[in-house]
């Protein structure tokens, strides 16, 4: 089945540094979404980027999408301790408009 795969699986950086996570997927998509999950909580939507978009920003978050390489990246600038969480990408299906497929996530730890 089509699935986004995040890379790296885990990432530790110092507070204030930038964090970059990558997502690769297998087949064409209509959109790709990024979510954050804090420990013991549900996922929280961060950004949705459509297949005809190349870059999108939201506060300290920057998402890029390269449909030719079937990949996306999430950049968090000037990281904070509160950014410690797991981050997931999710892709839809080319012919369906109802379901998302989630990757296994990147565990980000910000060291104060």
């Amino acid at each position: 089945s089509q699935q986004g795969e995040e890379d790296p699986q885990a990432l530790s950086i110092q507070e204030g540094e930038n964090a970059t996570m990558n997502c690769s997927y297998k087949t064409s998509i209509n959109n790709l979404q990024w979510y954050r999950q804090n420990s013991g909580r549900g996922l929280v939507h961060l950004i949705l980027i459509r297949s005809n978009e190349r870059e999108k920003h939201s506060g300290r978050l920057r998402v890029t999408l390269d449909t030719s390489k079937k990949s996306s990246s999430l950049l968090i600038t000037a990281s904070r301790a509160a950014d410690t969480a797991s981050y997931f990408c999710a892709t839809d299906r080319p012919n369906g408009n109802e379901k998302l497929t989630f990757g296994t996530g990147t565990r980000l730890t910000i060291i104060p």
């Binding site: 909580r41 408009n97 109802e98 379901k99 990757g103 996530g105």
Partner: protein, 113 residues
């Protein structure tokens, strides 16, 4: 935060017993989803609903059934629980499907002994 409530939040039960998890929303969203989250597997879709009485299977639907008799409620039932169904279960809602964000509840931690 989107109004999504999952109940119970924690449950411990024995193999072979039936279990029903409830997801309640106050957003009047059309789509509702049930996922399970296990280490190394991420989130996997169990079942979803695209309207009252309209449901479909996800990638890990065996051993699970769902019902949606009202817009606001989506029930997930394990007819005869097995230890392999020990997991954290998440409900999510969406206005119009995968072209919109999904909003998640805080999960139900289910342990089957």
């Amino acid at each position: 935060d989107a109004g999504i409530t999952q109940s119970p939040r924690h449950k411990v039960t024995e193999t072979g017993t039936p279990v029903t998890l409830r997801c309640h929303q106050t957003e009047n969203h059309r789509y509702m989803y049930w996922y399970r989250q296990d280490p190394g597997h991420g989130l996997r879709l169990i079942h979803y609903s695209y309207g009252v009485k309209d449901t479909d299977k996800g990638e890990v639907s065996d051993g699970y059934s769902v019902s949606r008799s009202k817009t606001e409620d989506f029930l997930l039932t394990l007819e005869s629980a097995t230890s392999s169904q020990t997991s954290v279960y998440f409900c999510a809602i969406s206005k119009t499907g995968s072209d919109q964000p999904q909003h998640f509840g805080d999960g139900t931690r289910l342990s089957i002994l």
